[in-house]
């Protein structure tokens, strides 16, 4: 196989259908960009789960009067509640967070934001923070035991709060993947069409090749490489798009919640991890589509 020959044929082919080639590259790029975004979303979900899994707590907030009067959970109502919780085998540990501690934590969390200034210790409840031994059954057990007890204001399951966040990222992921599929179909059709057009514009060459006894590889490889090149270029543009998206858009959008540790950031390493996957998908799909098209539609 002569590499210089194939290279020359591929370049001629790409140049001859410039507009088509560009359309193909862009469609592939958009499709793969969406796939990449989806993959990053999946990654973020995993990270977020890790971030929270060891911190999940059920918070039993106490009523205002107890919060104000009992500063270290030494009075009967609070100690009773605490003992009840600690006796349960589903509970690992219970920590009391006073109004003052809650206030400090709150200040930390929203440092520099207007919310921090308006908050007063009195407006925050004291809390019994319950770590569960059993993540599955624990939350419900705590809720049943605590709901309606004297001194209990309400029971907050952190996982419920976080699961909303997961749902949101999950929906985002599903939408991007769905769009990616639609775009991928468009890309496939374009690739297939381009290969057909390419084969048609080069029918004289191909005719001569067949006549002088070129093997199937020689006649088809230029078309396949042409398709793969556009697929790979599309993938590279998609990666560039993801990088641009990260630095111009996502970083700012998420900066607040990332700094507070609510959501992990999208890191450069994540995009580096996605890039080869996109290149392989782009090149692979183009190769398969190109091959199938040559098999089905083009007599070489």
């Amino acid at each position: 196989m002569r590499a210089d020959f194939v290279t020359r044929e591929v370049l001629t082919g790409l140049r001859r259908n410039v507009t088509m080639t560009i359309a193909m590259v862009l469609t592939t790029a958009i499709s793969l960009g969406l796939v990449g975004t989806g993959l990053l979303a999946v990654r973020t979900i995993d990270r977020t789960e890790q971030l929270y899994s060891d911190r999940f707590e059920v918070q039993v907030t106490l009523t205002a009067d107890i919060s104000e009067t009992d500063l270290d959970c030494s009075q009967p109502i609070c100690t009773d509640l605490r003992n009840t919780l600690e006796r349960s085998p589903l509970v690992e540990s219970v920590r009391f967070q006073s109004q003052q501690e809650a206030y400090e934590h709150f200040q930390e969390l929203f440092a520099g934001q207007a919310l921090a200034d308006v908050a007063r210790p009195q407006s925050l409840p004291a809390t019994l923070r319950v770590r569960l031994a059993d993540q599955q059954a624990g939350a419900d057990a705590v809720r049943q035991a605590m709901d309606g007890q004297v001194g209990v204001r309400n029971v907050i399951d952190q996982r419920e709060v976080v699961s909303k966040l997961f749902d949101m990222i999950g929906n985002f992921r599903d939408v991007t993947f769905a769009l990616a599929v639609v775009q991928a179909i468009a890309a496939l059709l374009l690739i297939s069409n381009t290969v057909q057009v390419s084969a048609f514009t080069r029918r004289t060459e191909v005719g001569v090749m067949r006549l002088v006894g070129a093997t199937r590889w020689y006649t088809q490889l230029p078309f396949l490489i042409e398709a793969v090149v556009t697929g790979v270029v599309g993938a590279l543009i998609a990666v560039a798009g993801l990088l641009a998206g990260k630095y111009l858009f996502i970083d700012q959008l998420l900066s607040g919640i990332v700094a507070n540790g609510v959501v992990p950031p999208v890191e450069l390493a994540d995009i580096v991890w996605v890039a080869p996957i996109l290149v392989m998908i782009g090149g692979g799909i183009a190769a398969v589509t190109g091959y199938a098209t040559l098999r089905m539609y083009v007599r070489l």
Binding site: V208, R210, V212, A214, Y218
Partner: protein
């Protein structure tokens, strides 16, 4: 070199066979004219030899290959042994003369060295010395046909098939092309040429095989185009 055994070709869309139980043999180094009226099956004959198509019945052998039973992947091997020229030259308009000829070698994987050595040689042989960098449209019809012959012959095939190679040329140019084909024939290459050209056939006095409605109606060792035609 070439042997046909009761070869019949029936195209799906037609009721009478394009070739009808054709049996014949062509020896190594022979020069054969294939003549007959339009539609008599000459082109079909050549296409079957090239495995562009397969016969409905019968077998074809080219050198040691059973063309009819040849597996797909070995078809290129067969075609590398058969050179081919046509009435319409079939040159690549965007490539120079030299590139057109080189193309035939490149696509069968010949090395750059071989190509740069062999191409000028064959251009000399066909009388196109110094015209390697011309584009096809800068050549006369006769010169274009020479390029086509150079391309067909550059890989030194055992057989050269020519389907009305002089069909688009004036008598003088046709005569030059015939001299070239004769020269190629003298190198030991078997030449099989389909033609309508009376004067060429009559002046060359070579073997003539005449087809009519797909049947071989005549096979003369040193024939003329035809009496009373």
């Amino acid at each position: 070199m070439i042997r046909l055994e009761r070869v019949t070709k029936l195209y799906k869309t037609s009721t009478r066979p394009a070739l009808d139980r054709v049996s014949m043999e062509v020896g190594k180094g022979e020069f054969v004219f294939l003549i007959g009226p339009s539609g008599s099956g000459k082109s079909t004959f050549l296409r079957l030899l090239l495995r562009e198509d397969v016969p409905t019945k019968g077998s074809i052998y080219v050198s040691d290959m059973n063309v009819t039973k040849l597996p797909r992947r070995r078809v290129p091997k067969l075609r590398q042994r058969i050179g081919c020229v046509f009435q319409d030259f079939r040159l690549l308009p965007s490539k120079t003369v030299g590139e057109n000829v080189a193309f035939a070698l490149e696509v069968i994987g010949k090395s750059r060295n071989t190509v740069s050595k062999v191409v000028p040689e064959v251009l000399d042989l066909v009388g196109l010395t110094g015209k390697a960098n011309r584009m096809p449209h800068e050549l006369s019809g006769g010169e274009q046909q020479r390029v086509a012959i150079a391309r067909a012959f550059v890989n030194r095939p055992q057989v050269l098939l020519a389907d009305e190679p002089t069909g688009n040329l004036d008598p003088d140019t046709s005569q030059d092309i015939m001299l070239l084909l004769e020269r190629i024939n003298r190198t030991g290459t078997t030449v099989l040429m389909a033609t309508h050209d009376h004067s060429i056939v009559d002046s060359m006095r070579r073997r003539v095989v005449e087809l009519d409605l797909g049947l071989v109606v005549r096979d003369d060792a040193r024939g003329v185009y035809g009496v009373g035609r």
